[in-house]
């Protein structure tokens, strides 16, 4: 229905209180991009996970910091970036033990990054610690064949 390119962005304090607002925002963007309900749920979850990681790890739960979510879409692709200016990290160095192993270690987390990978079509990190850390996630609007 929409073929016009469109851009949106949202800036909120780095607090889990704002996850609802972020999900609503992304849900509306997904709707306008023409995503089906199922894909919209996946998008909301992936962005939630990305923002949680920023809030917890990049900013260590300091609510004076700011999380930026940018969205851009055309008829084919929806691209979301989650941006912080926090500590940064080396994504390829993060170990991702299997669920059974996490459970044996009684870990309460460690699933976020793999979930983002499973939910989105493309995932890319660009890290410049303290300057700009950007996680870009792409979802195809129409199945490519």
């Amino acid at each position: 229905m929409k073929t016009l390119e469109q851009s949106f962005s949202l800036h909120v304090p780095s607090s889990t209180q704002n996850l609802v607002m972020i999900r609503e925002f992304i849900g509306r963007v997904g709707e306008q991009a023409g995503l089906a309900d199922g894909d919209r749920n996946k998008l909301e979850l992936a962005v939630d996970e990305a923002c949680c990681n920023v809030i917890e790890h990049a900013y260590g739960n300091d609510a004076r910091k700011e999380v930026t979510v940018r969205a851009h879409f055309d008829a084919d692709l929806l691209r979301i970036s989650v941006i912080d200016t926090g500590v940064g990290f080396e994504p390829s160095a993060v170990e991702q033990p299997e669920l059974g192993e996490l459970i044996r270690q009684r870990r309460h987390g460690g699933l976020g990054m793999r979930l983002i990978q499973k939910l989105m079509d493309e995932v890319r990190y660009e890290i410049e610690p303290g300057k700009k850390n950007e996680l870009t996630m792409v979802k195809r609007v129409r199945p490519s064949e």
Binding site: Q17, L19, G109, G112
Partner: protein, 123 residues
Amino acid sequence: MANEFSVTRSTEGEITLLALEGFLDAHTAPDFEAAVQQEIDAGHTHLIVDAQELTYISSAGLGVFMGFIEEVREAGGDLKICGLQPSVREVFDLLGFDALFDIEADRASATARFSETPSGGTS
């Protein structure tokens, strides 16, 4: 944001039912975590989480299930899950929870499973 997540507790014999409602994300997961911890502290380890009214879960919510399951099973109990809505179930399955947790259709079947296999699930 007051009423967007709640845990309602009830008991049935030695089983504790925790009914979740709303969305379970990194903001609300601590409430759920506290509710489970309270049961464990009270020595209740036959737990069923009824997720029929749960509309959303993120990994922070899944983390609560992960973090407690070993402890509960070692104590001879289990943390069974029932009533998952399809969109929520999808997240559990995507991460492999279906292989490691006892996920049942409803309270009745989850309750029945406790008499079959008292110390837990498919693990």
